[in-house]
Symmetry: D2
Subunit: 301 residues, 4 copies
Amino acid sequence: MHIAFIGLGNMGAPMARNLLKAGHTLTVFDLNAAAVASLCSEGAAAADSARKAVAEADFVITMLPAAAHVRSAYLGTDGVLAGVRPGVPLVDSSTIDPATVRELAAAAEAHGNALADAPVSGGTVGAQAGTLTFMVGASEALFAQVRPVLAGMGRNLVHCGGTGTGQVAKICNNLILGISMIGVSEAMALGVKLGIDANVLAGIVNTSTGRCWASDTCNPWPGVIETAPAGRGYSGGFGADLMLKDLGLATDAARSVKQPLFLGALAQQVYQAVSHAGDGQLDFSGVIRQYLSAADKESQQ
Amino acid sequence: MHIAFIGLGNMGAPMARNLLKAGHTLTVFDLNAAAVASLCSEGAAAADSARKAVAEADFVITMLPAAAHVRSAYLGTDGVLAGVRPGVPLVDSSTIDPATVRELAAAAEAHGNALADAPVSGGTVGAQAGTLTFMVGASEALFAQVRPVLAGMGRNLVHCGGTGTGQVAKICNNLILGISMIGVSEAMALGVKLGIDANVLAGIVNTSTGRCWASDTCNPWPGVIETAPAGRGYSGGFGADLMLKDLGLATDAARSVKQPLFLGALAQQVYQAVSHAGDGQLDFSGVIRQYLSAADKESQQ
Amino acid sequence: MHIAFIGLGNMGAPMARNLLKAGHTLTVFDLNAAAVASLCSEGAAAADSARKAVAEADFVITMLPAAAHVRSAYLGTDGVLAGVRPGVPLVDSSTIDPATVRELAAAAEAHGNALADAPVSGGTVGAQAGTLTFMVGASEALFAQVRPVLAGMGRNLVHCGGTGTGQVAKICNNLILGISMIGVSEAMALGVKLGIDANVLAGIVNTSTGRCWASDTCNPWPGVIETAPAGRGYSGGFGADLMLKDLGLATDAARSVKQPLFLGALAQQVYQAVSHAGDGQLDFSGVIRQYLSAADKESQQ
Amino acid sequence: MHIAFIGLGNMGAPMARNLLKAGHTLTVFDLNAAAVASLCSEGAAAADSARKAVAEADFVITMLPAAAHVRSAYLGTDGVLAGVRPGVPLVDSSTIDPATVRELAAAAEAHGNALADAPVSGGTVGAQAGTLTFMVGASEALFAQVRPVLAGMGRNLVHCGGTGTGQVAKICNNLILGISMIGVSEAMALGVKLGIDANVLAGIVNTSTGRCWASDTCNPWPGVIETAPAGRGYSGGFGADLMLKDLGLATDAARSVKQPLFLGALAQQVYQAVSHAGDGQLDFSGVIRQYLSAADKESQQ
C-alpha cells in the first residue's frame, strides 16, 4: 500500500520504519531534513509538503507533537486535505484533545475522507519494536480498514468507539496513572519516614488493595522494582513533562464539559512543580522527589 | 491457649469466634452485653472489665474502633496493664495511629509485656471466613510468638517491621487506595462525559498503565465489574466513612513528621464531602457520585 | 476623533455609547444586528466587517468574549489589520491570555500599528456609568495616546507596564479574588456549623487579618453585607462562569511558564463544580453553596 | 483582684506582667523556673502546681501551647479544678480546638465554675504592649465578669457568643488568612514571571477586588510593603509553623462536623511543605518561596 507518513520525530520515525519493513511504499514529510533523509536512505520517498506527500497515497498517517501542528498539517494551504484524494483513510496518531480530533474529522468528512484518531502507548521502545498499543476512535468500517496497517506498527489494537474516543481513552488512562503515581509517592515517602522499610511496604501494597502499575511496575522508590526508572536516577521512561502535557489535555477536556477534576488538577500542578524545579526531563516517577527533603534524598542513596 | 479478647464489634466478634473454633479457651470483654452473650453461648467466658478478662490469660487481643478506646483499654484503671501478668504477649488489631501504638508499647514494656500492632484488611467477610490479612509490627521474637494465634483468624500474616509498622503499612496502603479510587472516579466520569463507553474505557485502563485494584476489582461505574459494590447501589464493601477515618490517620501521621501529602489531604476532603452529603455509609467507590450531576446520575441508571 | 468599535456585547455596547456621549465619531461592527442598530440609532455608523469599520478610523477598540474572537478580529481576512491605516493606535479591552496579546501586538507592529491591552473591571454597571477601571499594558508613549479616549469610558486608568501586562494584572487580581472567596466560604460555612453567628464571625474577620473584599464587600453568607449578591439569591454580580473563565486564563498562563498554582488550580475546579451543578450563572459568591448540605441551605433561609 | 496565671511562655509572661502593672495580685505557675522567677521579681507569688496557684484566687487565666497542656492543667490531679473555689471565673487564652473547650467547660461547670475561652491575636508585640485582641466565648454574664480583667491585657475585647466561639472565631479568621496568603503568593509569583512589576501588581490588587491583609499589609514579595516580614528575610511576624498549627485546628474541627475544606486542607499541606523544607520558623508569608525556583529566588534579591 502507498502510505503518506507526516511527522518523523522520536515516535514517528521508528513507526514509519516499521511500515517500510512491512513492505509498504512510503512518502514522508517532516520539517527536519535529517529525519527525512534517514527514512529515504531506507527506501522512503520525500515530499516537501504534507499536500504533496499525500497526493498519490492510499493511506495517510500523521504523528505530531500537539494540536496546533495537527491542525495545520490537515487544514493548512499545503496540508493533507488540500492534496488527498477522496476516500483515502486518514489516521492521526498524535496525542491531542478530542475536540480538535472531531473538528478535523468533520473537515475531512466534508472532503470525502474518514479520519481515525489512534494515539499510542508504549513509548519509543514500543515504537521501535513495533509493539505499540493503538487506541483507535473510528467507525466499525474505518477500524476494519486501518487495522491491517496499524498492525505493522503495534501489537495491541483497541477499538474505543467513534472518532475521538481513542484520545479519550488515552487521556483518561493517563489521568489515573498521573494521580496514582503521586499517591504511591506520598505513601512511600510517608511510610519510610514513619519507619517502615520501602521494600516491605511496596510488597504489602502490591499484594493488597493499593496495588497499581505505579507501585508494582514503576515504583518511585529507588531499588524497589529493579527495572524501574527510579533505580537509574529516574532516567528513561515516561517524562514528567509528557505527563504534564497529558494532564493538561485531561483538565482542558474536562473544562470543555464543565466536569470538575479535583485530584487531576492538583496532580497537574504537582508535575508542574517538578518541571518548575528543573526535573521535567526525568521519568514522571521522579515526582517523589517533591516529597523528599534534602536530607531525605541523601538518606535514600 | 487461654486468650483474652477485648472488643466484640463487627470485626472482633467473628475473629473471636474463629479462635474458639481453633480450640482456644476465650475470656471476652465488651460493653455490649448482647455481643458478649453471643460469644458465651459458643463457649467463651465473660469478664466485666478488661482487667479481669486478662487476669488468667496467656495471650491478649484487642480489636477496638479508635485510639481513644485502645488507650483506655490498656491504660485505664480497669484496663489490660492493670491486670495482665508480665510476659504475656499483647496484640492490638485495631486500626489506629502508629504514635499511640508506640506509646502503649512503651507502657506495656515497662510492665513486662511486649505489644504487637496487627491491623487487618479483608473486612467483615474476611473476619468471618478467617481469611484476614494481618499487618504485624513486632520484633522477630514477638512475631514468632503471635503468628500461630493470628493464623487462626487470617490467611496472610505479614511481618512489617518493629512495633507500629503494621499500622504504617495499613495507613499507607489505604492512602494509595483512597487516592486511586478518586482518580478512577474522575477518569470514568470524564471519559463517559466525553463519549466513550464505560466498559470499553475500563477494559483499556485495566490492561494498561492505569490499572489498579480500584479499577479492575472495585470499579466505581455501575456494571463494569459485576461483583463490585457499584453494581448494587454501592452497598456492602468498605464504607466511605471508614476510608475517611483512615485518610485522617494518614494525614495526622504525616503532620507528626511534617510530611506534606497534597493529594492525600485533598482526597480526605473529597470523602468528607461524601459524608457531608449523607453518603458516608456507602461503599467508598460511591465517591464517584460527587462527580456526577443529577442528570448524569439518572443517565447512569 | 473617529473611533472604530468592534464588539457590542453587554460590556461593549455601553462603552461605545459613552464614547458617543463624549463627542467621538463612531463606526461599529458586531455580528449581532440588533446591537448594531441600537448604536446607530444613537449616532454611530455601521460597517459590515471589522476591516471596513477601521478603514477611516483614527483609533480602534475591540471588546470581545475570548481569545479566538480577538485573534480573528485582528488577523482575519476581513479583520482589523487588513483595513487599518498604519499609525492608528489599537486597544483590545477583552480579557484574554497575555501570550495572545503579545502575538497580536507583534503582528500589529509589523503592520505599523501599536496595540495596547486594556482589560477592565467594574462589570456592566461600571460600563454603563463610565466608571470602569482599565488595566493598560502599553509603552509610555502609547499609554499617553490612548488615555484620553479611555477616560471617556472609565474613571481609573492604570498603566501596568508593557503590552500584555494589563492582562497579567487582571488575571492575577482575579486569581486572588477567586481563591479568597472560597477561603471566606469555607470559613463561614465551618464557623456557623461550629456554632458562631455569621454576622459576628464576619465582623471579627473584617477587622482582623482575614479581612478581604470577598468578606467585607461581597460576603457569601446571606444578609451579612446588605448590598452583596448573597442577599438577593446570588443574582447580579460577577458570574461564577466568568470567574471560572478567568481562573482558566490564570492556570493556562501559569502552564506556559511552568509555574505551579496549587490553590489556583483547585479553586478553578471548585468553580467548575458550581457550573457542573448548574449554578454557573449565579454570582461567584454562590460557591459557598458547594459547602452547604441540603439541610444547611434550608437553615440559611 | 487575686489572679492565678498558669503558663508563662512568650505570650503568657508579658500578659501576666501587664496584670501586675494593672494592680492585680498574681500567683503564677509554670514548669519553667526562670520564667516564674522573672515574674516573682516583679511582684508575683509562685506556686508549685496549678492546683496550689488557684487555691486563693478570685480569677484564673491559663495560656498554654496546645490542647493536651490545657486539658492536663484543668483536669490533672494537681490541676485547676482540683484546687479552685466554686464560683471563681476561669479564662483559657490558649488557641485550641472548640471541642476541648466545651469539654473542659462542662467539667468546670460540674465543679461550680464558668469557663470562658479567650484566644488572642496580636502576637508577642501585642502581648507586651497590652494591645491584644481577645475573642471571647462566654455567656453574657461571664463576659461582663471577665471583661475588666482582660482589658488590662488587650485593647479589643470581642464577645463571639457562647463558650467555644472564641476559638471558632480565631480558627476561621486564620483559615481565611492562611488561604489568602497563599493566593497572594501564587499571584505575585505568577505575575512577576509573566512580566509585571511586583510593586505595580500589588498596587492594583490593593485597590481592587483582590485586596486583603495578606497583600496590603503583609505582602510576601520583598520590598512591596516596607514594614512587612518579607522585607527582612521573613523574620519576625507570625511563624509558618503557627499557621500550620492553626490550619490543623481548622481541619480537625471541620472533620468533627464532616465539613469539607478543600482549599483549607490543601493550604495546610503547603505550609507543611514550608516546614518540611526547614522554613517553619519564618514568617508565614515565606510560603511564597515554595513558588520560586532557585533562579527566581536569586533574581528577587
